[in-house]
């Protein structure tokens, strides 16, 4: 491109095309204005310009001649990255579960901007559709965790389902009359949850969500974490306890007009609200296909 072009104005004239002189310079009236072609940046040339002469390479030596040693080399001294002994800080990092943080401040921001609807149960699907969080199941992400940043300014009544939640975050949500639930999604279910349309286009039946592994069962059956496998009565007691601890009056959600929405919960084997495992969603024909075979029904409800 540089070889073809001469000076600036010659290039512009060439780009105009044949018969261009007949057309007005600003374009035809009533038509959308064409953007003027920007001049390409001048290549680095010597001769007294910025970035010229030695071209930022310095004077003689390895620097100018492009023969500097590798990164980390310290002239023969044992380099830092070899002198320090190995220790397993990152050992097994690819097997560790990661949870993308979601602060209450961000959640409030999304609700205020109308990207997330607080009158419906808030799920990871809702948050992903609203582009509030980005979860990468392939990078060992197992979901999102509620973080307490913004706990003091949070003022929204929501029914939210996350994968982990800290105590203060739970307190902040329940103080405003909301409901928090922590639930487990195995990587396959998580991928389906985050990208439902892509999954439906595959034409495969919705799988059942797997139960948590051994080390997470204790977490999800603990009412203090509002686990989805915990005893509901104990969860209610834990709500009262937390209200006593943090010194707020627990609002009675049964008196609320949105009580039905706030108490909406997924079954432990369910991935989507309103869709059961085993169903196939046909987006093109807007139909749902359900299995009728005994053995399949038995499998999907186990």
């Amino acid at each position: 491109r540089g070889a073809l072009g001469g000076s600036g104005h010659e290039r512009e004239r060439r780009a105009a095309g044949p018969g261009a002189a007949a057309l007005p310079a600003q374009g035809l009236p009533g038509q959308p204005q064409a953007q003027p072609r920007l001049q390409k940046a001048e290549r680095r040339r010597g001769r007294g310009r910025y970035g010229g002469r030695k071209c930022g390479r310095g004077h003689k030596g390895e620097r100018q001649r492009g023969n500097r040693p590798r990164l980390g080399f310290e002239g023969g001294q044992t380099p830092f990255y070899l002198a320090i002994p190995k220790y397993g800080f990152n050992e097994g990092h690819s097997l560790r579960r990661q949870y993308q943080p979601l602060s209450l401040q961000r959640l409030q921001y999304l609700i205020d901007l109308g990207r997330v609807d607080p009158t419906q149960p808030i799920d990871l699907t809702q948050l992903t559709n609203a582009r509030g969080v980005t979860v990468q199941p392939l990078k060992r992400d197992y979901g999102i965790q509620l973080v307490e940043e913004g706990a003091d300014i949070f003022a929204a009544k929501v029914n939210i389902e996350v994968q982990r939640a800290s105590e203060l975050a739970i307190a902040a949500i329940e103080k405003n009359g909301g409901v928090v639930t922590t639930s487990f999604y195995d990587p396959r279910s998580l991928e389906i949850l985050c990208k439902p349309v892509v999954f439906f286009l595959r034409g495969k039946p919705i799988p059942k969500r797997m139960l948590p592994p051994e080390d997470l069962v204790r977490y999800y059956t603990d009412p203090r974490n509002r686990g989805y496998l915990a005893d509901p009565s104990k969860v209610a007691e834990a709500r009262l306890e937390l209200a006593k601890k943090y010194g707020y009056v627990l609002p009675d959600i049964t008196k609320d007009e949105l009580f039905k929405m706030l108490s909406a919960r997924k079954d432990p084997r369910q991935i989507f609200f309103g869709l059961a495992p085993g169903w196939i969603v046909n987006l093109a024909d807007k139909k749902i296909l359900k299995p009728t075979d005994e053995s399949l029904l038995k499998y999907y409800s186990s």
């Binding site: 307490e148 706990a151 003091d152 203060l168 307190a171 902040a172 103080k175 059942k208 139960l211 496998l229 005893d231 509901p232 009565s233 209610a236 007691e237 009262l240 006593k244 601890k245 943090y246 010194g247 707020y248 009056v249 009675d252 959600i253 049964t254 008196k255 108490s263 919960r265 079954d267 432990p268 084997r269 369910q270 059961a276 495992p277 999907y300 409800s301 186990s302």
Partner: protein, 198 residues
């Protein structure tokens, strides 16, 4: 049906029964998907009231009536730049100690004695906390401090009964006697090794 049995269990919070019953009601309606691991199968509603008694076995934590306390928030001290200058995270709780009938009378007097440095001229006990970045947590810390104060004031000094005191003295004497006996035995051994050339 399930809802009735739950309501009969007389839980502290009346709405609790409704919340628990939601799941069983849904199952009965047949509109919701129910797997073998759904909550009403994992925790079937019990017919007897034994399930509700677990909370009462633990010692009840002090119930602090929030309406009787005066809570105020202000800006914390310390480093932190713009955030510490603007955010009201220091929590201060004050209440009139003499008229706090949610604390027993004797305990109140003990507290007035123990924490006289924290009581102002108007008789209000003041507890502050600015340890955390969050107002809510600072408030929780203040309440925890009040609970600790009450617990400390309630505890009675350990009274050692006469029998126990005597037993302890006897033990010490026995130890000393044994020690001296061993010492004499060792001494005779050492003496026997001495060669007296007189």
């Amino acid at each position: 049906m399930a809802a009735h049995t739950l309501r009969g269990l007389c839980r502290p919070w009346p709405g609790l029964a409704l919340l628990c019953a939601r799941f069983s009601q849904r199952a009965a309606a047949g509109t919701e998907y129910r797997s073998s691991h759904s909550l009403d199968k994992l925790y079937p509603p019990r017919q007897d009231g034994t399930a509700a008694r677990t909370a009462e076995l633990q010692p009840p934590t002090l119930d602090i009536p929030m309406a009787r306390l005066t809570v105020s928030y202000s800006r914390s001290s310390g480093p932190g730049g713009q955030n510490v200058n603007k955010v009201n995270s220091k929590a201060e709780v004050r209440f009139h100690l003499a008229s706090a009938d949610w604390i027993p009378e004797a305990v109140r007097q003990k507290m007035a004695l123990m924490h006289r440095n924290k009581i102002n001229r108007a008789g209000e006990l003041i507890v502050t906390s600015e340890e955390s970045r969050y107002q809510m947590r600072n408030l929780a810390i203040c309440l925890e401090k009040i609970r600790t104060m009450v617990t400390e004031a309630i505890e009675k000094p350990k009274v050692v009964s006469k029998e126990t005191a005597q037993k302890l003295i006897e033990r010490v004497e026995k130890m000393n006697r044994e020690r001296l006996r061993q010492k004499k035995m060792h001494s005779t051994i050492k003496q026997s090794r001495k060669a007296d050339f007189d």
